[in-house]
């Protein structure tokens, strides 16, 4: 680099421009009022298991605040941002978007910095839940409102991380990480925005972690797998803080020195545009790449017409062995299709199951 290599190298270490890394953790909470209230209802009605079996919003929120305080406690440089997402809207809880910073706070054994974060988040959630009574939401189907759309909150958090990286002083690098705590089921209505946001997170090398309370979420599994994050499904409502404080508090470097839950098998099959059904083999329009489960003469998204095809695709002679598309190879393709149909019913490992 410069001067005597030994001297230069010793000096290069420091002057590579990055002196200190601050960690910024963005937490996205799922505040879907319908799902949380259902938890209480079915807790009371059919009483499945003792009350501690259900997820109450208040107890879960307390555990999450304990996790936030632990994260802030670890290093004075750590920063936390909290977002809340409902069915159709996302809000910044800390730094608050709707209300302004509360000033009069009862003081207790928590340091001031932690108390400010906790109170702001609690105040903001109260404000949001009071403001959006169930009918406050735009009129959408019953089932519709039960789902949670975290995509909007996710893309806003990437914008925020991008801003923090822009504004950080010269020698400092802000390393962003997003933790999504999801309760309700997935909604696949925004797949386009979802996949673009995941690729952006991948490019900014922002890891997306997922802590799921309700059922498993395919979208979050894909997000975690593509960005190299962690995915944990919490069974016991009381153990949320233990899981958060053991797994999701680990930052980049520590995930190699401390054992973390192993990688999940992600189901990457595409969903066809016409029936939203996961398919194994499909037809893709060469212009707009939309996926169909059966051959149709016209593409529904880009209205381009297709020449009729017999489903036999001439094999591209890309490897040198077969330079000219000899007739034999096309017949091989036909044979392959035939055997597939024969074996379809009985094949041991034809993974047709969802």
């Amino acid at each position: 680099m410069s001067g005597l290599t030994s001297l230069g190298a010793a000096q290069a270490g420091v002057s590579s421009g990055i002196e200190s890394i601050t960690d910024l953790l963005v937490v996205i909470l799922d505040l879907n009022p319908i799902w949380w209230s259902e938890q209480l209802d079915n807790g009371v009605e059919n009483g499945n298991g003792p009350p501690s079996q259900q997820y109450g919003l208040a107890p879960t929120l307390d555990q999450i605040l304990i996790f936030l305080n632990s994260y802030l406690l670890i290093h004075p440089g750590n920063q936390v941002v909290v977002l809340g997402c409902l069915h159709s809207r996302s809000y910044f809880l800390y730094p608050p978007e709707l209300i302004n910073m509360p000033t009069d706070m009862p003081s207790d054994s928590r340091p001031e910095a932690f108390r400010i974060v906790n109170h702001t988040v609690q105040r903001a959630i109260q404000h949001i839940l009071l403001q959006t009574s169930p009918d406050g939401e735009p009129a959408a189907g019953g089932e519709e409102k039960r789902e949670t759309v975290f995509v909007g909150a996710l893309s806003r958090s990437l914008c925020y991380i991008h801003r923090m990286q822009r504004e950080s002083p010269k020698g400092q690098f802000v390393q962003g990480r997003v933790l999504v705590i999801e309760a309700g089921p997935d909604s696949s209505s925004h797949y386009m925005h979802f996949i673009n946001t995941i690729f952006t997170a991948q490019k900014m090398n922002v890891k997306i972690d997922a802590c799921v309370l309700g059922e498993d979420s395919i979208l979050l599994q894909q997000a975690v797998d593509l960005t190299g994050g962690l995915y944990v499904k919490v069974e016991n409502p009381g153990g949320v803080v233990q899981v958060l404080n053991s797994v999701f508090i680990l930052d980049g470097a520590e995930r190699s020195t401390m054992s973390v839950p192993e990688k999940i098998q992600v189901d990457y099959r595409a969903a066809c545009f016409c029936h939203q059904k996961l398919i194994e083999v499909g037809y893709v329009c060469s212009v707009c790449l939309s996926v169909f489960c059966a051959f149709s003469p016209m593409c529904s998204t880009c209205q381009s017409t297709f020449k009729f095809m017999t489903g036999i695709k001439k094999r591209k002679p890309t490897d040198p062995t077969s330079s000219v598309p000899s007739p034999s190879s096309s017949s091989a393709a036909v044979a392959a299709v035939a055997t597939k149909k024969a074996r379809n019913g009985t094949g041991p490992n034809s993974n047709g199951k969802a």
């Binding site: 991008h162 797949y191 946001t197 194994e280 707009c288 020449k307």
Partner: protein, 403 residues
């Protein structure tokens, strides 16, 4: 701010262009500081970059591209640091990564031409690592002899000719020398390229060569001569975005497989993977999980790949989705007029909560509104959304069922 003055679009060398009078643009404001007007200049540049976006055309998705690299004596010239060959190799590696990032189901091949002969460095393939390793080996071979345009174009066309017509066929020629030694008549080759609908663009490193110009013009390609390294980088990167496909090529419905990754726990499920079959010891991949082709259940380690047994293109859903943003780009945001700025409900930018500054004298309010969801953003978020995010946070969090 450093290279503020040299805009890539001016042709010709820098000393010919008349200097931009930057010192007149910066005026001191009341307090004598320049910062305010410096900010305006920077914002002005950012705005201009936004407006240059090309309108939305129907883009050819399945791209098959051959890169022909000139390895003649002229590549030893040192006008590009450290010499032309090394500079181009460094930029090519960057280009290949970016190409597969933007066109995951596209395929790329590299051909080198030196000593009056053209040879195929790598096959048309979808795995960037293979190409980059091949380029590494080029660093040790030293360029000499003369290039041959005709042989290299013929070699590329030989493969591209029998690609199914729905996929776009392209050649990028990086041409360092000023002469070419061709066996036959070069114009026959250009006519053949045009008939096979192969789009050929040339990037000149030395000077403008007439045969390259006609070649590019006839095959609807682009011909540009690089002035310096940053300019060369810009030209190379401009080839990343898929070229607007000519309307006559008909579209096809391609049959594709979406394999599932399966962990092998039971012993009887262990299998070799096709992609490492010809590796010295394939047994290292024996127990690894892999993707199983839905038609012929052969195992592959990574996607996208074309199944060697049944010819089915195997790809995973995110790969397809990666090219969506070319087709459904976010339209440019409109600027919030001065008078409306006060009555805006939320004073903060929807994306990053910055309180955007007051509207300055040139009337720009640095606040931009998305036409669909009416959310307002600051200029940095606007750029971030259009350059990398490719989706508007406001629309993503609104309930409208946008597909």
């Amino acid at each position: 701010m450093a290279n503020m003055t040299d805009e890539p679009d001016e042709q010709g060398y820098r000393w010919e262009t008349e200097y931009e009078r930057t010192w007149e643009v910066l005026q001191e404001d009341a307090t004598g500081s320049l910062t305010a007007s410096v900010q305006d200049v920077v914002l002005g540049i950012k705005r201009r970059r936004l407006l240059e976006r090309k309108p939305n055309l129907r883009l050819g998705m399945m791209r098959h591209l051959f890169v022909i690299l000139d390895m003649s004596d002229s590549m030893r010239d040192q006008d590009l640091r450290p010499n032309r060959l090394f500079c181009v190799l460094r930029l090519l590696e960057n280009f290949i990564n970016e190409f597969f990032d933007q066109n995951p189901i596209g395929q790329l091949g590299v051909i080198t031409t030196r000593n009056k002969r053209a040879d195929r460095l790598t096959e048309l393939a979808g795995n960037p690592k293979k190409h980059i390793d091949a380029l590494q080996t080029l660093r040790t071979t030293d360029p000499h002899g003369e290039t041959t345009l005709q042989n290299s174009l013929e070699l590329a066309a030989q493969t591209l000719r029998n690609i199914p017509s729905h996929a776009s066929r392209e050649i990028i020629l990086i041409f360092g020398s000023l002469s070419s030694c061709d066996p036959g008549n070069i114009y026959d080759t250009t006519r053949m390229l045009r008939e096979c609908n192969i789009r050929c663009s040339v990037i000149g490193l030395a000077a403008e060569v007439s045969i390259c110009k006609t070649l590019a013009k006839e095959t609807v390609g682009e011909y540009s001569v690089a002035l310096d390294e940053p300019h060369l980088k810009d030209i190379l990167m401009s080839h990343i975005v898929p070229p607007p496909v000519s309307s006559n090529s008909d579209s096809f419905l391609i049959r594709m497989g979406f394999p599932q990754q399966k962990a092998l726990d039971r012993l009887d499920e262990f299998s070799f993977c096709m992609c490492h079959l010809d590796q010295p010891e394939p047994k290292t991949r024996y127990g690894q999980p892999g993707y199983f082709c839905p038609v012929c259940v052969t195992k592959y380690c990574e996607l996208p790949v074309e199944c060697r047994v049944c010819g089915l293109t195997l790809v995973s859903a995110p790969h397809l989705a990666r090219s969506y943003h070319h087709l459904f780009p976010v339209e440019a945001f409109e600027e919030v007029p001065k008078e409306e700025i006060e009555l805006l409900a939320d004073k903060k930018c929807f994306g990053c909560l910055t309180e955007t500054p007051h509207s300055d004298k040139s009337g720009t309010t640095h606040r931009f509104r998305c036409k669909v969801c009416q959310r307002t953003f600051c200029i940095d978020c606007d750029l971030f959304i259009h350059d990398t995010l490719h989706s508007c946070p406001g629309c993503a969090s609104s309930a409208a069922k946008t597909e």
